[in-house]
Structure formats: C-alpha cells, structure tokens
C-alpha cells in the first residue's frame, strides 16, 4: 500500500455504557470476542473479530456498522496501525 495509506486491523475499540455484561452481550450478538477493558479506561472495551482480514487498506463495514446502532454503544473505532519506532 502507499506509505501514507491507513491499514485497518481486525481489532476494535468500543465504548459501551452499562458494564462488562452489556459489553459481553453486544460482542456476542455481533460475532466479536470481547478481549476485556482497555487498560484502565472505564467503559472502553477491546473487541476482536477473527473473521475479518487481519490487515486491510479498506475499513470494514456490514456488522461493524450495525453495531454502532446499538443504543448502549456510544463509540466504536476500527483500530488502525500506527508506525512507531524504537528510539
């Protein structure tokens, strides 16, 4: 891909109100695996979708768009690879 193209992964960051149970239920409903809370960020969860291509220059649609319509889902973002260098 061109060097400035975004590379989308099969990981999502999701903000869901209502606690881990709600997050688990929503993950299940849309075929994600809930990998748990993102560090210490409250209400933020790490969702993983094994059937999505691991790295792609195109962002994923379909179910990944539908999940955002869930009332408890406040925000969702497909994770993009960031170039980070050891110094």
């Amino acid at each position: 891909p061109p060097c400035n193209a975004r590379i989308y992964t099969n990981h999502w960051a999701v903000r869901i109100a209502g606690g881990p149970d709600v997050a688990e239920r929503i993950a299940d409903k849309y075929g994600y695996r809930n990998m748990g809370q993102i560090g210490d960020l409250k209400d933020h969860y790490h969702f993983f979708h094994s059937r999505t291509i691991k790295r792609s220059t195109l962002s994923s649609r379909g179910r990944h768009s539908f999940i955002s319509m869930e009332p408890k889902v406040e925000w969702i973002q497909q994770q993009v690879v960031k170039r980070r260098i050891k110094r």
């Binding site: 993102i38 960020l41 933020h44 690879v81 050891k86 110094r87």
Partner: protein, 812 residues
C-alpha cells in the same frame, strides 16, 4: 583505586561523609559506569548527575515501581529478576501476563531489556551493571512487537495506574524529519486519566525519549507524545557535553541525561537479551530510563509528590553545567533553558533534597485564551507576526494563570510545503522559543491542523501580556507560488498557577503578617468614613493607615505601621499577598526583592538584560541601549559590541567578519551560518568563502584561480598568467583576455589568438571587419569615403585606421 564500602550501608538514608566518598560494587561493568561515578576526576569528567549523592542519602528507588513500555523485558535476566515486578508487567501483543521478549536471530526485541537495566539492575550481584534505582521494582510491557494501534498504546499507558509510579517510553512516531503524529483519542485519555487519577490521585509519571531524528533534521515538536505536557521529555548529551548526532531540538524538552556521543565519548552500559551486557545502547532511549530512575529516587524521598511537583523539581534542579548549546538563555523567572537540553542535566542529589522538603505546588489552572481566527497569508521569505494580548483568564478565578508552567500554542496552518515553515513564540517577558524549525525532508502539503506546539521555556514567568507568534516561510526549493500558506487560526493554552508555586511553603508566616490588628488594638470603635483604599472590612480611623485591610496594596514602614495604597510606589513591588515590598537598593522598579529581579534601575545604573540586575556599566558581551537604559546582550559569539548588529570583538574561536562574528574554520573549510558548523570547501578550493567551486578564495594544488572559480585549465577568454611572488614562488592563475579578443595568449589587445565574430585578427589584434573591404570596390557612399580617407592620408592616424579596414591597415 576504589575504597570498598559495603553497599548495605546505603540502603537506609544517611548523609554522606568523606569516608563514604568512594563506592564500589562488584558488578562486572561497574568501573565503566562513568555516568554514575563521573566525579572520580578521571577522564576529564566535567559534571555528573550526582547519582551517588542521592545513594549516599539513602535513596535507591525502594518501593517505587517503574515500567518500561517497549518490546518486552527479559524478566529472568540475572540483573533484573531480583527487582522484577509481575504486577507492573503485561504482554499487550500476546494479551497475556508474561512480557518476555520474542527471541529471534537478530535480537530485534532487546530494547526493553536494555532500558530496564538502566533503571533497576541489581547492585553488587557480580553481574553486569548497577541500575540507577537499583532497589526499585521494574516491570515491562510488551507492546512494540506487533501492530501498534491507539488501543495498544492506551492499554500500555494505563496499565495498573495505582501500582505503577513511572512509565518510561523510548519510542514514538518516525523520526524521519517528515512525520507529524501524536497520541490519538484513547492514548490521550490514558494520559489524562493517568495524571488525574494515577498514583492515588497524585498523577502517573510519564517519561519520554525526545527523539533520535537529529540526522534527518527532525524536530521533536512534531512528535505529539514527547511534546505533551503530561510527558517528561528527555534529551541526551554526550560525555563531552556536546550535542550528539541523533539529538532533536525543540522547546518542549524538559531535561537531559547522559547518553553516547562520538567515538571518543564513553558509552552507556546496560543489560542485554540472553542474560548479557552491552555498551551499544544509545540515543535518547538510553537517556529516558536514566531519567525515570532518577525520578524514582526522588519519589522514594517523597512518595507524595504529584506529577507536577516532579516537573517543578526537575526544572528547579536541572543545570546547564558544561553542556554546550548555542542558545542557552535565562528566562524572566531566572531559569537557564535551551532547545537542545531543556533546563539542563538532571541532578539526582539535588532532586532528592528538594523532594525531601517539598510542599505541593498549588493546583494547576488552565487558561484557554480566545483563538485568533484572522486568516493571514504566509508569503515566501516573509514573516507573519501575530500579537495576542493575554489576560491569563483573570476574569475567572478557576482558570486564572499568573505564573506559567507549560505553554501550548494550538495552530492551524495550510501550506504547500510544511517543511519550509518555522515558528517562534515570544512571551510577554521576552523569552523567545522556537516551536518549529525547518524540516528539509517534510514535503507534506497537509500543513498543521490544530497541532499543539508546546514550550517549557517560559516556566515561572508571568502569563499576562503580549504574546508574539512569528511564522517564517523559507522555501528550500522551487515551489508553486499560486497557493501561498495561510495561518488560519491560533490560540494559547496557558498552564500554571494563580499564586506563586512556591509561596505555600511559607504560608504560615505570611498569614501571620496578613491578619488584621489584634483585639487589644481595637479598643475604641471608629464609626466614621474610611479611606477609599480600605476594603469592606472597614477601618479604625479615617486615614489610609487606619484600614483593617486594603482594597489594593498595603505599604509597611520600618516603624511597623502600614498604609493602604492604590499602587506600590517607586522602589517597591507588589507581591501575591497584596503587599508592597521593597526592591533591592539599585532597582527603581522590580518584581521581587532580590537584586536580580529589577525591571528598571535607579539613575546612573543600567538594567542588565537577561539577569535583571542593575549595573553601573555594561560588561563584556553587552552594549548600552541608551533609549531604554538597558545593557542588552551582544549578538551571539560577540565578546564586545556597540549595538545589536555591530560586533567589535569576538569570543574565542570566532573571527570578526565585517560586523559579525563567525566561527574560525580550518583551512579547506568554511563557516555555514545556517548549520552553524564548518563545512568542507569544494575539492578544487584550498580556501573558500562558501559552498561550491565558485566560492574559492585560494585554489587547491593543480587548480588555477579564474575569477572566483578554480579550474584545471583556463577557460575560453582567459590566458595562463605566471607570476613570481615576493617569496619567490611561481603563482599561476587564469586572467581575462583583453575585451577585444575572443581567445588570447597574454594580456593586452595585441595578444589575441582569435576574435569574436565581426572582427578580424590582424597581427595579434582584433580589428573591426567593416563592409569596406577595398576602397576601389566599395559601394558608392563608402567608396567615396575611403577615397577621401586615402587622399588625405588619414590612415596614418591610428584612430581612423578601422574606418577603412584593409585598405588603410595594409596599404596605409
């Protein structure tokens, strides 16, 4: 030479004594760890980070938890396992608890283990090295050995914020000189949560390596991690105090530790993968964990320090020492600061001593000044200057900032080539910091969208007043002029306090001074009108000296009486408690009682710029600006000058060129003012005034000087001249032929060897070949003219010879 001192004596706080001056550990590389025992006065050691001073006071990092955010940590390394903390560790890449690095043939994942050793390698275990905080707990987060995403960063930065005290990161966006990138939304939240809630509300400490892009002319302001107010941005210096090749400059750097430099500088030694030691760890990633370890010593001295207390202590204790930078300056609060090293080299002993007696700084206020949205065109080779009158949000007590900490400038610029931009910010006190320098490789057309530049250089200064933003566009290559750059919007975010950050430590004394009269004094009640300078608390009499409290300021006299005044008189300054206090004896006006806090001077004295002291005559390096009565600094490298642009004497190593001082360069090199270095001349030059073959002033062996160029053979229109100098040496150069010749063999008009078109070569001279070839064959008009010439023997006269060409010149 070492005197054996049992390290156990260092585990409990103890003051140093002469007997303890030498410390010895049996770790294999201890004697090579110059950056810890630099004061051994061997190897020309110039100044050190006073690590041993902190150890001698009993601080070794006990009960402090540090984690390294990197490619993992070899937790079973013989120098690390003793202090390894599983609770401060995680494998984000593999989503498990074990941060062991992935081993491969290239040992790619050695970075985290190397950083960890610098912090907390065990002492006196006969293995490898001694960590600076060798009793601290050390963890590692494996997060760089896979795809890094915003979420990966956020997970790492917010790992166990109640357990981990210090996060050390030695990574970031590419330092290629063309990248502008920073934390995205989740990582930002992790930073913000960390400083608000981490360490039980005291705030997590994030230490960041400032960047290794020196060779790519990168600027650390383009790295949003190191540029953040939440991270402590660490720079590096070589043992010699010189700037290492990898170092990036920027205004957000807070402090510096040692790292490797040139070949002749000694190196940093640390733990390596596969249970080994290495001296290859270099760059700012060697410096950041050192800083993290020094901070760990300070946190052991006082675990209650907040994240801002730590930054204040660093600012107060870092020092310029022997670090060499062209831009060291003293800001209006008296701190020495530079774009290379921030406030200077860290001093561990000074830090633990400050930490021991530290009182929390007052709460942080954030003042977001209204944005300036006036669109301004940025023209090539021009400056856009925008002045903003800041109030420091004085109308809102919750946001009011008087004393500055970090200053952030949020800017939106469109521009056809981002790398051509450079940006400066000048504070109301006159401290200029460079927010961005030109970046040779940054060809991006994206400009800056709400990018936050940060400067620490105004730390301690007052916030209110005129802030000047200057944007320069210096095109480095041919560029379309059709779409000039535009400054779309900029705003200031001022961070700081509404009271002096160090005033709380003498709060009790001050309160005692501020309380009104005692009960004994209020024996008779006064019911008349009060002076207009009294506040709502009333008064005991009609005069301004009878107020119980003052509306504006109170002036205290020697006999202990006081009076309310609307303004402090000349020779007094107002402090944060509304008191007029006496200036130092030579000041006319001042901002504090010290002799270096004058703002104007008494008659006969001049204000010394940068030092704020009053002097009878300007010293070396300063000239008297008569209009303002200020001894202003001479230009850089000037020892003496008569005005801001006229040097009369230069500093050692410099020479006077016109009115300016330039570095004296060796033969065969010239001074490049842009890069501030001596650079080699073109190979054809022996000496030169600049780059390229055309700037030679003397030619190299085998080359001939032809005007300002050096050539192997003389060009057309030049002849080879050989002259013997006074010293008897043969000097060869190419000299220009007479203007009448096209080519020549020597000087003058009679040495031509060929002529330009329209001239004929006649006995070495070029004469005009007119249309008059032969008087007898000429056209009517010219033929009769030639006859006339011949008849009157006019051809004998030299000036007329060319009028009739061959007829005259050949036959006379």
């Amino acid at each position: 030479d070492y005197q054996l001192v049992p390290p156990l004596s260092l585990t409990s706080p103890a003051h140093s004594s002469p007997a303890q001056n030498n410390i010895f550990y049996n770790d294999a590389k201890w004697s090579s760890m110059w950056y810890i025992h630099c004061n051994d006065n061997v190897h020309n050691c110039q100044s050190d980070m006073n690590i041993m001073g902190a150890w001698k006071r009993g601080y070794t990092g006990k009960n402090v938890v540090v984690t390294i955010l990197d490619d993992g940590i070899e937790r079973n390394h013989p120098d690390l396992f003793q202090n390894y903390d599983p609770q401060a560790s995680f494998d984000v890449n593999g989503n498990d608890m074990d941060p062991m690095p992935r081993y491969d043939a290239t040992n790619e994942n050695k970075h985290g283990t190397r950083c960890a050793g610098e912090v907390a390698a065990a002492a006196n275990n006969s293995h490898c090295i001694v960590g600076i905080a060798y009793n601290a707990k050390i963890g590692g987060v494996r997060m760089l050995d896979g795809d890094v995403t915003d979420m990966v960063e956020a997970k790492s930065l917010s790992l166990q914020p109640q357990h981990i005290d210090i996060y050390s990161a030695s990574w970031g966006p590419d330092d290629d000189g063309k990248t502008v990138d920073g934390p995205a939304s989740l990582a930002r939240q992790a930073f913000e949560n960390g400083i608000r809630m981490g360490r039980k509300g005291r705030g997590s400490i994030f230490v960041w390596a400032s960047g290794n892009g020196g060779r790519s002319r990168d600027h650390c302001s383009c790295d949003g991690y190191t540029n953040s107010i939440y991270t402590i941005s660490i720079s590096s210096t070589a043992e010699s105090g010189r700037k290492p090749w990898y170092l990036e400059e920027c205004s957000s750097t807070l402090t510096t530790t040692y790292s490797s430099g040139e070949n002749y500088d000694r190196k940093i030694i640390t733990t390596d993968l596969r249970h080994r030691c290495t001296d290859s760890h270099t760059g700012t990633s060697a410096s950041a964990p050192m800083a993290a370890a020094i901070i760990a010593l300070a946190l052991e001295a006082n675990a209650r320090l907040s994240w801002r207390d730590v930054q204040h202590i660093i600012v107060k204790t870092s020092r310029a020492g022997h670090l060499s930078a062209p831009d060291w300056k003293t800001n209006a609060a008296g701190y020495n600061v530079s774009h290379l090293y921030g406030f200077g080299l860290m001093d561990a002993e000074a830090m633990v001593m400050e930490a021991e007696r530290w009182t929390h700084v007052p709460s942080q206020h954030v003042c977001v000044e209204t944005a300036d949205r006036q669109i301004r065109t940025i023209r090539p080779e021009h400056v856009v200057r925008s002045v903003y009158k800041a109030t420091g949000c004085n109308d809102n007590p919750n946001h009011h900032v008087i004393y500055l900490e970090h200053v952030v400038v949020r800017i939106t610029i469109t521009h056809p080539r981002r790398g051509d931009l450079s940006i400066n910010l000048t504070s109301p006190s006159g401290t200029k910091s460079q927010l961005l320098a030109n970046r040779l490789f940054d060809h991006s057309m994206e400009g800056f969208k709400n990018w936050e530049f940060m400067t620490t250089h105004c730390w301690g200064e007052k916030a209110a007043g005129d802030w000047v933003l200057e944007i320069y566009d210096s095109p480095s290559q041919l560029r379309s002029q059709k779409v000039p750059g535009k400054l779309k919007e900029w705003s200031l975010v001022l961070y700081g306090t509404s009271v002096h950050p160090y005033s709380l430590r003498s709060e009790k004394t001050r309160s005692a001074e501020m309380v009104g009269p005692t009960e004994e004094e209020l024996t008779e009640e006064y019911i008349g009108p009060c002076d207009s300078e009294c506040n709502e608390n009333g008064c005991e009499g009609p005069g301004p000296h009878n107020c119980i409290n003052c509306l504006h300021y109170f002036l205290k006299f020697k006999n202990n009486t006081r009076m309310c005044v609307s303004e402090c008189p000349s020779g007094f300054f107002r402090d944060d408690r509304k008191r007029c206090k006496k200036c130092s004896s030579l000041c006319e006006t001042c901002v504090g009682s010290r002799s270096d806090q004058c703002t104007t001077c008494r008659t006969g004295f001049h204000l010394n710029e940068g030092f704020n002291t009053c002097v009878a005559s300007c010293g070396d390096g300063f000239y008297l600006d008569l209009d303002s009565n200020i001894c202003r600094r001479c230009p850089e490298n000037c020892k003496k000058c008569t005005s801001f642009n006229i040097c009369t004497e230069c500093k050692p190593g410099m020479s006077l060129q016109g009115n300016k001082c330039q570095m004296t360069c060796d033969p065969g090199t010239y001074y490049n003012g842009h890069r501030r270095t001596c650079e080699p001349c073109h190979r054809a030059c022996a000496t030169c005034a600049g780059t390229g073959i055309e700037a030679c002033s003397k030619c190299a062996e085998g080359y001939l000087l032809e005007d300002w160029r050096c050539v192997l053979t003389c060009s057309t229109g030049y002849y080879l001249s050989e002259q013997t100098s006074d010293s008897g040496q043969l000097q060869r150069s190419c000299k220009k032929c007479d203007h009448s010749c096209y080519e020549c063999l020597g000087p003058g008009e009679r040495n031509c060897s060929s002529c330009v078109s329209g001239y004929n070569l006649e006995a070495g001279a070029c004469v005009v070949s007119t249309i008059c070839k032969d008087a007898n064959e000429e056209s009517w008009a010219e033929g009769s003219f030639c006859v006339l010439v011949k008849k009157n023997n006019l051809c004998q006269r030299k000036v007329l010879q060319q009028l009739c060409c061959r007829t005259c010149s050949q036959k006379g």
